[in-house]
Every structure is written in C-alpha cells, then in structure tokens.
C-alpha cells in the first residue's frame, strides 16, 4: 500500500491518530504524512472527521429516519440537481442515489418524530420532481462505520503471558 492509501485507511479507522503515530504506523516521515493529509483534504477525498456515536447512550437521542424518494426527471432536471436541493436541508444527514425500487435514500435527523414528519411533508414531498416518499423510522442501530454497538463484552480472555 502507498503511504497515501495507508494514511487514508488509518484515518478511516481512527481519525484521532496523531501525525507522529501515523508516521510510525506507516514508516513515513511526519512531514510526508502531513502533506499527504493536506493533499487528501485539498482534493476533497477527505470531507471531514467525526465521531461514531451510539446515541442510545446519550440523554437526547435524536429521531432518525430513512426516507425513500422516487423522482421523475426531465430534460432540464437530473438526479444531481434534485440531490443538490435536498442536500441543502440541515435535517438531511446523508443522501445517496441507489438502484432498485426507489431513487434516493435519504437519512433525516430531527429532535422528534413530529419534526421528521413535518420536514418530509412540508419540505421534501412538495419538491416538484419527487413523486413519492416512504419514511422508515430507525428503531435501533447495531453497527455503524464498521463499529458494532454491542456491550463491548469482547474482553481479552487470553492468558496474560503465553508461549
């Protein structure tokens, strides 16, 4: 793997690795790591850094929903145009074009079910190209970004010293 690929893969696993540790982990110089990250950011490969949160363990668990959206296209309007409009809403956490029975899979987040419903009814459904929406409220998250949300009882039960 190139240093660039290594750095990217390490940051995906843990964006909090220090530059010094990234250098140690990849056998590169710190300056090379720093430049690589700057490059990845400048090129728009890395779009941001965030925490993977199990919201159930917080006091104010937000309401989240996956909204399937069907759209019709015309000569002037393509998927990207519709996506642009939808993505602007702060309630929209994620937006993906997918194959299959519907076109967009949209992650929505708000403080209550009422807010999510109002948002879909008042902001999404009225978009002229959107022909249908189906809203699925998220009931539980078991795994996100490769991280399982279990009770972490994967204690190390190996012998502390072994041959």
């Amino acid at each position: 793997m190139s240093v660039r690929d290594e750095v990217l893969s390490l940051l995906c696993e843990n964006a909090r690795h220090s530059i010094a540790d990234l250098a140690r982990l990849t056998d590169a110089d710190e300056s090379e790591v720093e430049e690589t990250i700057e490059e990845l950011e400048a090129e728009g490969v890395i779009r941001g850094y965030g925490a993977v949160v199990d919201w159930r363990r917080t006091d104010d668990e937000p309401v989240r929903a996956l909204v399937e959206c069907n759209v019709t296209l015309d000569r002037e309007t393509g998927y990207d145009d519709i996506a642009d409009r939808l993505a602007k809403f702060p309630e929209v956490e994620s937006l993906r074009l997918v194959s299959g029975d519907y076109d967009f899979s949209m992650g929505v987040r708000a403080d209550s079910m009422g807010e999510v419903s109002r948002f879909v009814a008042e902001k999404v459904a009225p978009v002229p190209e959107i022909t249908q929406t189906v809203t699925h409220y998220l009931m539980a998250t078991y795994k996100e970004q490769g991280i399982e949300f279990d009770d972490g009882h994967d204690d190390d039960d190996r012998l502390s010293v072994s041959p």
Binding site: M1, E6, D21, R24, L25, T26, L159, S160, V161, P163
Partner: protein, 382 residues
Amino acid sequence: MAHVRPSERTQRVPPSGIRRFFELAEEIDDVISLGVGEPDFTAPWSAREAAIDSLERGKTSYTANRGMKELRNAIAANVAERYDLDYDPDEEIIVTAGASEAIDVAFRALVDPGDRVAVAQPSYISYVPGVIFAGGDPLRVPTREADDFKLTPEVLDEHGADEADALVLCYPNNPTGAIMTREELAPIAAFAREHDLTVLSDEIYAELTYGREHTSIATLPGMRERTVVFNGFSKAYAMTGLRLGYALAPPETISAMNRIHQYSLLSAPTTAQYAALDALEHGEGAVAEMRTQYDRRRRFVLSRFGEMGIECFEAEGAFYVFPESPWPDAEAFAEALLDEQRVAVVPGDVFGAGGEGHLRVSYATGLDDLREAMDRIEAFLE
C-alpha cells in the same frame, strides 16, 4: 507419601520460564501484556459460523484419522498456491490437534533413543521437551543477533550439528520475528543434505510476513524428501482455541506419524476441522486484514523503540519483535517493568540459547494498548 512416581523423562524437562512470568503477571492488576503468543483477533466469523453449522447438522463423530478428506484436499490446494508446496492429500498430509500435536508426534515418530536433534534457538519452547519426551538428545544451536537471528551453517558447524540426526527450525520465528529467504535457506538445506539431517520446519507463522513472501525449506532442491513441514490455523486465522494444525511430509513419514496419532488422538477435533475448511475457502480476506494490522503495529513498535534508543533488529515476520534489553539482565528488566509500570514482556532466554539479554515483545495487542504500553516503557526508562 506419594504413591505415584512421575517418569524420569518428565523430570528431565525443567519448568517453563513462561509459566513463571505468567504467574508474576497474574498477581498484578491492569497489566498491559505484550507477552502473549497468540493473536488478539478472533477467528473469522465465517469460520465460526461453519463450526456452528456443522454442530447443527450433527457433525459430531470422529473423522478419518488423518483428517477429513475435504479438508486435506483444501490444505493441499492452499499450500500449493501459497508456498509452492506439492503434497498428496491422501498420503502426505495429516491433520492434528494444533501444530503442537504434529510436532510432538513427529518427534515420537522420527527420533529414537539417543538420537541427536539440533534445535535452532531462540525458538518456541516445545521443541526441546518434545525431543526429550521422545527419548532423543536435544542439541541447542543459538542463532546470533549479528545474523538477525537467522540460522547459518557456521553456527550449525560450531555447535556440532553435523553429528545430529535431525534439525528443527522455525521461520518466521517465535520469539524473534526473524524470517529466512530462499537465499538464506539454501546453505542450511545444503548442510542438511551433506550431513543427512531430517529437517522439521515449523512454519506456523508462514502467512504472517511483511514485505517478503514466505519460503518453505521443503521447496529447496533435495529437501522435500527429508523435511516435515508444520503449519496450522492458530496464527494465520486466529483460531488458537480450536486446536487445529497439520503436517506435510513424504508418505512414510506421515504413515509413521499416523501410527501414533491414531492411538493418541484418533482424529483431530471435528468441529475445528469444519471451521478450518471454511477458513481455507473464505478466510483470505480476514488473513489479509490481520496482516495489515500486524504490519502497522510492527512498524509502530519498531519506531517507538528506535526513538527510545532501544536496539532492535527489523523483524519481518510473526507478531514479535526482539529488542535488546536496556539492562544487561533481561529478566531483571522484565520483572521491574512489570512491577513498576505493569507492562509484561518476556525475557528472551526463556526461548533458549541466544535469547539472553533480549526481550520478546508481542504486538498481538490492540493499538491503544500498544501505545499505552510504549508510553509506560518510555516512562520506565526515564
């Protein structure tokens, strides 16, 4: 008064130094252990599921003595593809309860009382006892740090291995992490041919090399007929507790080993054989992922030791590095480090001749713990 008198041969084997360190470490809370000789990963889920599925289907009988035919076929195909080793699944492969059993059975099948068995050290702690239990006389051959702990014909000569009947070696090596390339193995193979040595090659870490592909000594000219290769699922697939390994050797050797194995084991654990079969069929991605993680940690640990001024040759295999102990007395250092900073490492002399003054540091530990352990070692040095 004791009514049972242990046999003389059990008394010839001294208590294990690993055991002593284990007991020391167990007495202290919150130890970060870099003293573990097994993967910190769990077996690939697909392999575990195959084991569960086999139980659901009621696969709870013995298998053929030498292991399930399907598994032997899969092993044959895997070693051919990975290491260029060509073995007949019917006559030249035996599936055992870990490489450990294969090693033990091989000694019992090949060593007669009084036979001399050269053991390249430092190395895994079972070989010398195995030779003794088989009635043989172990001949310890220390490798040298100056050679990056690779075995050389010079040290073999110097320690009288030309007189031996067999030679045991282990590359990638536990505890040093050393590997040997084809070029480096060539003179060892020549030595074995010249002095008519049977070679027992423990290649259980074959999948864990970083940068260079593993070469089996059995693939060198004239070596296949005199070599027994040991491998298994414990390290590559993180399946230590499933207890599954195998040996590859010419038909007469496997027959002789099977003669013992069929009475002592009957057959290797059936559930584990199903897991192993799945691991060979679907485990490649999991192995590659673990290799990537180990390699990162290896570089991390080597870098940190370098920054601390601890001398350490660049280990290229297994999941160990073998730095020089900052104090001449490695055992005293390891004990003090455990006491004062709650970090466990294993003094190198536990692994035999040539290991003195060194420490085995295992990086089969998550990066967070590894980082913390390195910070503690650094603090200890200051």
